[in-house]
């Protein structure tokens, strides 16, 4: 399936390398607005690229799916044009015009949508676990703490810290099915850069350790199919009706360094969704 990428920054470039590796996806165009490393990189790899906006994408009937890795404001402007041109869209910005998608959790429910939103990096890392615990034990409250290395937090992340906490909390409820969600993000400048760690706290209705452990471990295996660097740092720890799980995401190092697991997981999830669309698969991963 032919795809396009809007926004040739760090996320867009990493997406590019992931799609190049993918057996069922190809890149028809990379669109930017200014001359940049990313545009040069795309051209260097023989991919059509330009800085004249998204016209070349809209006018190309072969391009079926578009990844938007720009900004919330830019995406709000592009979205109606992409919809009118009949393109399916995966939105990696906080614009969240389309429903949230976490491939292992709710793809099945929303696979007919024209546009998907990838939530946040923290959301992609933690919602699978919350959903797994919910299935086993019923989640009343889910609280996640994502810690990312300062080096992997670019200007976009830094200017949108509030959006991260609010969007992730919403998705914990809407996709993770927690009755109430809360999200916290911490930046740590330690050198060497730390891997992305995510702590998932839940308060559950039926604290059955065996059931919860089984459900969580099955989910981790499913996530690892598209994020090989996703692993548990602890097994689920139960204290009364509180369950604590800590997961770590090591990036694949396709373009971004391995400590940028936060960027890797949202990109990997986006590519996983695109692959499902390409393969016309309707079930969750």
């Amino acid at each position: 399936m032919k795809t396009a990428i809007i926004g040739p920054g760090n996320i867009g470039s990493d997406l590019m390398y992931k799609i190049l590796k993918n057996p069922v996806l190809e890149i028809g165009y990379v669109a930017g607005i200014i001359e940049s490393e990313g545009i040069r990189r795309a051209k260097g790899l023989g991919i059509p690229a330009g800085i004249d906006g998204i016209g070349p994408i809209l006018e190309n009937p072969e391009i079926e799916l578009v990844f938007d890795a720009t900004s919330a404001a830019a995406h709000k402007a592009y979205a109606p044009m992409l919809r009118a041109a009949g393109k399916r869209v995966i939105d990696l910005t906080p614009a969240a015009i389309g429903p949230y998608v976490v491939p292992t959790v709710n793809y099945q429910k929303i696979n007919q949508e024209q546009e998907f939103n990838m939530v946040t990096c923290g959301g992609q890392a933690t919602i699978p676990i919350v959903a797994a615990i919910n299935q086993a034990a019923g989640v009343e409250y889910a609280e996640i703490v994502s810690c990312i290395s300062s080096k992997s937090a670019g200007p976009g992340t830094r200017a949108n810290i509030d959006e991260f906490t609010v969007t992730t909390a919403k998705a914990l409820e809407e996709v993770g099915r927690a009755k109430k969600g809360k999200a916290i993000i911490i930046l740590n400048p330690a050198d060497p850069p730390i891997m992305m760690t995510n702590t998932i706290y839940t308060l559950v209705e039926k604290p059955d350790e065996e059931k919860i452990r089984k459900s969580v471990m099955e989910m981790v295996e499913r996530v690892r199919r598209y994020v090989p660097g996703y692993e548990l740092r602890t097994l689920p720890i139960l204290t009364g009706n509180q369950v604590t799980v800590i997961v770590q995401v090591t990036g694949a190092g396709d373009f971004l360094p391995v400590y940028a697991g936060n960027l890797d997981i949202i990109n990997s999830a986006a590519v996983a969704v695109a692959e499902k669309i390409a393969r016309k698969e309707s079930k969750a991963l």
């Binding site: 300062s150 830094r158 906490t165 809360k182 916290i184 740590n188 204290t239 800590i246």
Partner: protein
């Protein structure tokens, strides 16, 4: 002209850590009323981790912090009432709600190297007409030159002053002097200092900060606060008087407030025991203390061993969840 400084009282914010975030409206009214009368410039009220800090990670507040703020606002006449906000935990929406509850000041806090996550918040606070400080935490983890670069970001976006926090109580007086001096030399806005007592230097460090030019000093009654606590207000009031520096505080009123009002409610004395000493020695965020104690208990470990490892890993403020991670790894992945 007599040298003048202003005292920011954080009994009802940093002290909240030591109280397990259990302050009631009655307690807040009494303490805030006395602090107002005793001459505090700013009375800070929030969960220990700032607005919206109530959580599993940091501990739930027994009483919603907005109600505590409203209670204080109903009795305080002279002092400003302020909140603390950590981007990543609290949001601009939280700030707006606190504004409606009665704050006229806010301090926006980030890790010492991450000032740029606070710029939206500072600008919004200024738009709201709040007296706004940029607050750098864990300042022992950066050299003075780097701290200045970060502080300049706060200054550029309109902060009214920059507060340097020795969150781990790690610094020696000379380290404090160097950090305050370089800011004093290059910024046009005032500098403040927030001490912790883990190495028994809170008052001495605060005096060093004043001598180096700091104009805002954080204090708490009886030093109530995270870890071994903060700069003890009644003591600091006496020191300032001895040094001929106007702090706004009436020493005996502060002493009475500490003894008559706060002390009966304190859950434990603010002493430097082995664990809180280790916080200061290893450079670990002070609020980790009580959480680390609980984890040590659950996992059958020594609190100071857990804290040492957190220091080695260079954990920053807000990373209480890593206490469980350290304990788990130390036990080879098994519970007691």
């Amino acid at each position: 002209m007599e040298k003048q400084i202003r005292v920011v009282d954080t009994t009802l914010r940093d002290g909240s850590h030591a109280m397990g975030h259990s302050y009631t409206e009655e307690q807040v009214k009494e303490i805030a009323g006395r602090l107002d009368d005793a001459g505090a410039f700013l009375i800070e009220i929030s969960h220990g981790d700032g607005l919206s800090g109530s959580s599993l990670n940091y501990g739930f507040s027994e009483v919603e912090e907005l109600r505590l703020i409203r209670s204080a606002a109903s009795v305080v006449k002279k002092a400003r009432i302020g909140a603390l906000l950590l981007p990543g935990i609290g949001t601009i929406e939280d700030l707006k709600r606190a504004g409606e509850a009665g704050i006229s000041a806010v301090r926006i806090a980030t890790h010492v190297t991450e000032a740029d996550i606070a710029l939206q918040h500072i600008r919004e606070a200024k738009k709201m007409g709040l007296f706004t400080a940029g607050f750098l935490m864990m300042v022992h983890m950066a050299e003075p030159e780097e701290i200045l670069e970060q502080a300049k970001l706060f200054e550029d976006c309109g902060a009214d002053y920059v507060n340097l926090a020795d969150s781990a109580g790690y610094l020696m007086p000379e380290d404090v002097r160097r950090r305050v001096e370089i800011l004093k030399e290059h910024l046009t806005i005032p500098v403040g200092f927030h001490a912790h007592n883990n190495l028994s230097l809170a008052v001495a460090n605060s005096i060093a900060a004043v001598e180096a030019g700091a104009e805002y000093i954080d204090c708490t009654l009886r030093g109530l606060g995270a870890g071994a606590g903060n700069c003890q207000e009644e003591v600091f009031a006496g020191c300032m008087e001895r040094m001929g520096i106007a702090s706004g505080l009436a020493m005996e009123k502060v002493m009475d407030a500490a003894e008559e009002v706060l002390e009966p409610w304190m859950k434990r004395p603010q002493v430097i025991d082995n664990a809180s000493l280790m916080l200061g020695y290893a450079g670990v965020y002070s609020s980790f203390l009580l959480h680390a104690r609980r984890a040590a208990d659950r996992f059958g470990l020594k609190t100071s061993d857990i804290l040492k490892e957190l220091g080695r890993r260079k954990m920053v403020g807000g990373q209480e969840d890593m206490i469980v991670d350290v304990a788990w790894q130390m036990k080879g992945g098994r519970l007691r």
